[in-house]
């Protein structure tokens, strides 16, 4: 277990380094931020001075090394647009994005688990077909379109929910549902198929024969086994959630990191983009690490041999 952990940690490190290099490379290729920062009447000399002050006139590898040595201290430089440390901006907005991601995951699980279980138990019935069809529709809807439709129906036509912003339960329901819908569909299908497999396993039949209530049978044994694939998929989909928040935050004016980074890319705000990409990647990688470790813990048969 220890060796496995070490291996995974090393994997985490090189992934993060790789990502920092790629994002650094890209954003520097994409244009000159200095022109944007100064007013129209800035002279050539002022432009050069600013460029020198911000260190943009040094060769790229040198800039990258500067970036890395500061980054490990937690200093990602100052946002070129907001004039405050990039890290501060991220720390202010990150809770909002995480809140949205978790809320989506939560809604997805709460809705999909019972649906998946019930569909499996009543396999073949109209209920089963209906929910699986609904799930398929859910998977096929672009989440941002769903967001817009939810706004249309619940804010514009019915007036039940506010259109945007953050702070109350009413404001988080729509974005979380839009983001979570495809997860919901995926989990429902997954739960159902896993449950179907598990329900037919021998020891379940034996448990049934012993006379235990149907509910107990399902509740205790089957669900515990379904956890493994669910945890894996949930972990994998976390990456999708991170990407999905970018658009959903735009639709719902959610003050999170996704919207911030899109604006930062448009503004050629190098330090901010780099910082955000790194933070998101770190989160993603850590979540994966967590999932892997959890996976091993849940089912010791799956071993570190997988990494052969």
């Amino acid at each position: 277990m220890g060796r496995y952990l070490v291996k995974r940690l090393w994997h985490t490190v090189y992934v993060i380094i790789g990502i920092s290099m790629i994002s650094f490379f890209f954003i520097h290729l994409s244009g000159d931020p200095v022109m944007l920062m100064l007013p129209a009447d800035a002279s050539k000399q002022e432009i050069e001075q600013l460029r020198h002050r911000l260190g943009f006139d040094q060769p790229l590898p040198v800039q990258y090394l500067h970036f890395v040595s500061n980054a490990v201290k937690g200093d990602f430089g100052e946002s070129l647009y907001y004039h405050v440390p990039a890290m501060n901006l991220i720390l202010e907005r990150l809770p909002a994005s995480l809140e949205l991601a978790f809320a989506s995951m939560f809604i997805a699980l709460i809705v999909s688990l019972p649906i998946g279980i019930i569909s499996a138990v009543y396999r073949g019935s109209a209920l089963d077909m209906g929910t699986m069809l609904a799930a398929l529709f859910g998977l096929s809807m672009p989440h941002f379109w769903l967001g817009i439709m939810l706004i249309l129906i619940f804010s514009v036509k019915l007036g039940w929910l506010p259109t945007s912003g953050r702070g109350s339960l009413a404001q988080i329901i729509m974005p979380a549902t839009a983001l979570g819908l495809s997860l919901m569909a995926m989990f429902a299908r997954l739960t159902r198929s896993v449950m179907l497999e598990v329900l037919s396993l021998d020891y379940i039949r034996t448990a049934r024969a012993k006379g235990l209530g149907e509910f107990m049978v399902i509740g205790k044994h089957a669900l515990k086994n379904a956890l493994i694939p669910l945890v894996t998929v949930a972990g994998m989909q976390f990456g999708f959630l991170i990407g999905g928040t970018v658009i959903i935050e735009t639709v719902f004016a959610w003050p999170g990191v996704g919207r911030l980074v899109v604006q930062a890319i448009f503004n050629r705000d190098y330090p901010l983009v780099q910082a955000i990409v790194l933070v998101l990647a770190v989160i993603f990688v850590l979540v994966n690490l967590l999932v892997d470790v959890l996976y091993v813990y849940l089912d010791p048969r799956i071993s570190y041999l997988e990494e052969k």
Partner: protein, 498 residues
Amino acid sequence: MKKFWLPLLLLGLLCGFFISPAAARDADTLIVAQEAEPVGLDLMRSSIQTTMSVCYNIHDTLFHPQEDATVKPALAEKWEKVDNKTWKIYLRKDATFQNGEPVNAEAVKFSYNRIFDPAIECPHKGKLEIFEEPKIIDDYTFTISTKEPYAPGLYILGYYMPIVPPAYIKKVGDAEYNINPIGCGPYKLVKWVKGEEVIMEAYDGYYGPKPAYKHLIFKAIPEESSRVAALLTGEVDVISGIPIHQRKKIEESGKAYLTPQMGVMHYMGLNTYEKPFNDVRVRHAANYALNRDLINKALFNDQAIICAGPISPRTFGADPNLKPYPYDPQKSKQLLKEAGYPDGVSVRLSYPTYMSQIQEQAEAIAAEFGKAGFKVQLEPLERAVMWENYKGKKLEMFIYWWDDAPEPDRYMYSLFHSKSRDYYYKNTKVDELLDKGRTTLDREKRAEIYHQLDDVLYEDAPWVYMYVVPEVFGVADNVDYQGRRDGFLNMRYAKPKK
């Protein structure tokens, strides 16, 4: 084990919602919603409209500029002209900063120097370069000179030189000052919840009339329709950035009304150094190709003010005898033929995607121009790239805007003088007139000079002249607030309506 996660998560989320702060909503709180939140609260560090709006509540300047380009006293109690280039200014003795520091001549000198401090990167520096460092005469008196006679001087000081507290800034530093400023305006900052709202409270020690609302909150609601909805449901009291198609709804709602503010003057710049726009006939053709009336009717509900020449019809100095170019696609084609393009010409139209309603305008224009012999290729660019390409002289035909300010020098000089920007046009006669316009102190004579300028540019047509789209603020029925042409949300003027 995993079974506990879900209930825990649920608990966590519920706690989060209950603990979330909700703004106090009573009769002496005014809530304003803009399109974006401020990027900082230091007026010297930003030229972004939404940021400056918030700042003007916290900071104050020497003069209060008026709608006709004159000024009224603010921190400066009275002033006298010493000679053509110098003013002697007497500060009020009762003005203080929100931390108690006195607003004196030292502070003015400090503020002036801070603007030129390279670490601040003040975007307004260029406008103030014509001033020299103020000379202190006594605690509350100083003189300030310009390098040449400069008619808009006091007007410019009234907007772009906020007076800031030297001791406080020296203590906390610039970065902190940008988040936690202390000014001498009517409102002081209580708290800035990044990403959500800026909370302010009336400053008891303010020298001027106390604002009617004790608490002032600025929020950001980027979605147009959400912003309008927030006004109509009473969630907020004042909003900016109202697209044309939402205005009727507000007027008819019975809950809020519109008040005019800044005018946005759209224009199409042409690159006069390169083909095809180096030929004045082609430039004229472009001006005849634009169907201003149709676009006004269709996209702006007939509310836009059509421009004849470059000076906005609402600004003094605009020549009242000029008429807008008529829509005449046949004439365009003919002019193009004369200029050597019998089969029409291909042009590239660039525009920044952040401008409101820009996409529809660009597409409508492209379609109209197509009928007049111009084959238009659209090039939407993000704000940053557009600016870069603009300064890099890479554009051929582009849409940009300027605010329709009451002081003609404000934009005419910036946009047309070759010392300011000569990326796409240069004309020594125009330079001469601009120089004369800003150094002549007599208003009548200035108006004549600008009339001439208007005519010259109308003929030479370095731009396709478009229209001024008047922006409005939406104000709740129980609030009395009039918008101003500078477009800043200066809420010290707002009061409850009985």
